[in-house]
Structure formats: C-alpha cells, structure tokens
Symmetry: C2
Subunit: 284 residues, 2 copies
C-alpha cells in the first residue's frame, strides 16, 4: 500500500510586525492545508525581518523560551485545528543562551520538542554568530503523524553531514527553512544556483525528497531570492517558486516507493563508516 | 600569484583489445597534454569492456599487481615523457585479493601509490561485488607536481563522505573515473541527471572543482552515457561532453582563488564534527 505524503513549503516576505507575519503564515498554512498538504514548512525566522543582516542588540528581546514564543503559541494550536504538522523556525531564548531553533508541532498541536541549528554562518549580511550559540541538540528526526521529518535550518542545508545524519536516523523527507538572498558586499554573487545544487545533491545522495522554504522581499537592500522548491528523491523538481512569488507549493510523494528506491540504490548498503573517521575529527 | 591548474578528462569507448584501449588512451592523453592539461583523467577500467556487467570468471586473468599492470607500465612512462599527472583506473590483483584500484603516476612517471575503491556497487549490470574486495586503503589525496588531487572511483562519486574526506585531507580538486550507463533491467531509468547532481553537490558543499570521466559506447546492449564534465567550485559546468562524443575536455582553475573562496564560504569553519558521530557508526 502506498504511504503517500503531501507536503508544502511557503514563500513570503516578512516585515517588522510580528503579529502580521504570524498571521501571514497562518493564512498560507490554511491555504496549503486546504490543498491537502499534511506537513507545511514556513521560511526561517518568519516572525520578523532577517535581523542577522547587522549586529544589533535590540533584537534579543524578540527571543523567547520555545514553548512561549508567540509564533509557537499561535501556530501549534493551528496545527491541531487543521490536523497538519508544522515545523516552526524561531529565535529561542534558553536562560542566557540564544539559539536559532526549530520547534516541531505535530498534527494534534502537541510540541514534539526543539532542534537548535547546528551550523551557524557568519559574514557580511549574515552575522548569525553574533546572535546564536551553535546548537547543542544534534540533528533530529521527528516522528510525526504523517511521516518522519528531518529538518535542518538554513546554513545546515549546505552540510552533507547533516542530511546524511538525518536520513541515517530514518528521515522520510528533508526540510529546510531558509533566509538567503543577496550578498551586500558582493553584489554580483548570486548564490541561488549553488544553494539549490547543494540540497539537490543531498536528495540524490540520500535518495530522499527535499523541500526548502525561503523568504522573498527587499529588506533594506538585502534581496531574498525565494526560489523555494520541492524535489524528489532523484533531485527532479516537483514544484518550485521563482524569486518573487508569494504563496505555497506542494507535492505528493510515496514514502514506501521511495524507501524501496533507497534500498535498491544501495548507498546505505555500501557505506564504509570505518573509513569516515576524518569527518568526525577536529582539525587535520 | 595565481596557482593555475589545467586539467582534462577523457571520454571514449573501449573494446576487447587491451593494447588498443591503452593506445587509445595514450593518443587522447597526448592530445590533452598538447592543449596544456597537466592532470588527465581516463575513464574507469579503460583497459577493456566494463566486464562487471555479468559475473564471469574469465576476467580475473586480466587483473595484475598494480605496478605490473600493462596500463601502468605503458602510461606511467608517458606521464614522465609528457610531464603530466595520470590517475590510472585498473583491475588490481594483490595476492588472492582483487580490487578496483587507482594508481597515481606523477609528472615524472613515478608511481605515488594505489587507492582501492571504497564503495563497491552491486546490482543488475553492475555486479562489482563479484569481482572486487572493498578497498582497504581509505581515501587518498595525491601530492602531485601540479596540485593535490583527490580521486574517487565511480561508485565512490555518490558518497558525500568520500568527497568530504578527500577535501578535509587537502584535495585541490576531485576526480572520478567512471563507467556508468543504462540499467539492463530498468531500461527507462536514466541515471545521468542524478549522476551529475551528486557530484555537483560535492563541488558546492566542498567549494572544490570536480571532474568526471565516463565511457561511451554500446557494450552488448549496455549503453554508457558519457556526459563527462568538469565543474567549478560552485558547480557551474566549465566543460562537458554529450553522450556519444570521443576526445578530451579541459578547463583551467585557479587553486589559490578557490582556496580563498573555500575559506570565505566558511563551511570548514562551521562544521560540527562532534555531531557527526552517526556517520561513522555501523547500523542504527
């Protein structure tokens, strides 16, 4: 019997008003749920502008313990109401530590826990090391009502190790909430093609579908390029956005068929963990 | 000062006559060297047909200790004559063990050693586990006259761990000799797009150029699809073959510029080896 999963990724711009941003996501979640999506992914840190563009202390006040975050308090009940799974990217305050986190709301509205972004970027326009402590949770796969979801957050998406770790832990699909666009100090660099290529590589190497949700819009000259997509387990695009559209895209995958394809390709049969020690050692 | 490396990959069909196959590669190596290439990659097991299509005992007699292999005895001196680096994919006999191996001939004709393919496929048309013991050397990076070359062999190309391990060991570029084409028991499956996507993913995730050399031709109904390519450190194609052309393609990369780009992207700054333990454990 086919084990079908229909899932969606949202693409939108976000402004200064947290309540309006959350309402915007609620509206798009309702649209996607009406279309049959059972897991619906919003972009990274959708509650506000991408504040990591600069190093400014005023943003720390917008971090919350994950269960108390306004986005979680608003959207976890929505997950329960609609019977959909919602991975929620938030700015988390845990005591005196701040994390770029992902809270998983299952389809009954229950919180399954928190994942803290493992890989933290830092560079012009993406000054995340000023805000976030590197995550301490390790990679997580979420046993939701509709499938086992592996979710990395933005910069995690460039790391083959993260994708592999999640699939080794049983992820049926990989999801990545994202905030990426232009490079303020390198205006001719368009990272969009390689952004897709890295994740499409994870799809192929792990025989696992991938969905990525990115924001759009011009935030004080930093242009987020959208291009959110869903690809299948061979890297073929099932749905994609351009750089300016707002809304949702969705696709249906057959998790049992994919599991058979994954076994048939034999990558997990032929891995050589005893030869991969270099990947887990610090330095050279 | 720019540290330029021009390198080439060869694409050809190969038949039953080992001497003619080696002569064919010699001709193409001379062509590529005349064009300025300093490292030149021939396809996997270019000495003969892709015998792993079926499980047949007669092929074991074509394996040799690597220093004695006719391809090595013919082409290592050619490397010295032309002053080029030649990675040579061969069927190696080591005592009673047989390996799918890569011998590295430096630009003075000296042999730098042998790498034994770590990942061995097995399935209809690609029955390699019948012939080859899984490699015991671990991944190698070769300090050649013209740069540090990381070379995986065919099936290795699908494994992000292999690419990462080689770049962690200092590879300037990644090379993959290959023999891949149609799937005898699944004639509608064309693996060419995902074959490229996996390696392009390695290029992006490691900020490292990649070259892949595949064979062409119809070997008793198994159609090898060529599509050899060279991409830059962002996955942009610098040169590519279609599915039937014979010859060489070459590209020039600036290793110092790439090293700066690799540092600037920060992937190796931000890796979390302490979180990657799942990759080196057997089982779940």
């Amino acid at each position: 019997m086919a084990r079908l999963l229909r899932f969606a990724v949202l693409q939108s711009a976000f402004g200064d008003d947290m309540g309006r941003n959350i309402a915007r996501v609620e509206k798009l979640v309702r649209d996607a749920a009406r279309d049959g999506a059972k897991a619906i992914l919003a972009p990274e840190l959708f509650q506000g502008p991408y504040f990591c563009k600069r190093e400014e202390t005023r943003w720390f006040k917008d971090a919350y313990p994950y269960k108390d975050h306004p986005a979680v308090r608003a959207l976890a009940p929505l997950a329960g109401e609609l019977g959909v799974v919602l991975p929620l990217s938030i700015f988390e305050k845990a005591g005196e530590e701040y994390y770029n986190s992902l809270v998983m709301a299952d389809a009954d509205g229950a919180l399954l826990g928190v994942y803290r972004k493992s890989h933290i970027p830092d560079g012009p326009g993406y000054e995340e090391k000023f805000y976030f402590r590197a995550g301490d949770t390790g990679f997580k796969v979420w046993p939701t009502r509709f499938g086992r979801l592996g979710v990395g957050v933005c910069w995690d998406q460039w790391f083959p190790e993260a994708a592999r770790a999640m699939v080794l832990q049983g992820a049926d699909i990989l999801l990545y909430p994202t905030a990426i666009g232009s490079e303020p100090e390198n205006p001719t660099l368009d990272t969009q093609p390689r952004w897709r290529r890295a994740m499409i590589g994870h799809a192929v190497s792990n025989v696992t579908p991938v969905g990525a949700a990115n924001r759009i819009g011009d935030e004080e000259g930093q242009i987020f390029y959208g291009s959110s997509f869903i690809c299948d387990e061979g890297g073929d695009l099932l749905a994609e956005f351009g750089r300016v559209e707002e809304g949702f895209i969705a696709a249906t995958v057959d998790l049992d068929h994919i599991a058979e394809r994954r076994a048939s390709w034999g990558f997990f049969r032929d891995r050589r963990p005893e030869l991969y020690g270099a990947l887990t050692r610090q330095g050279v």
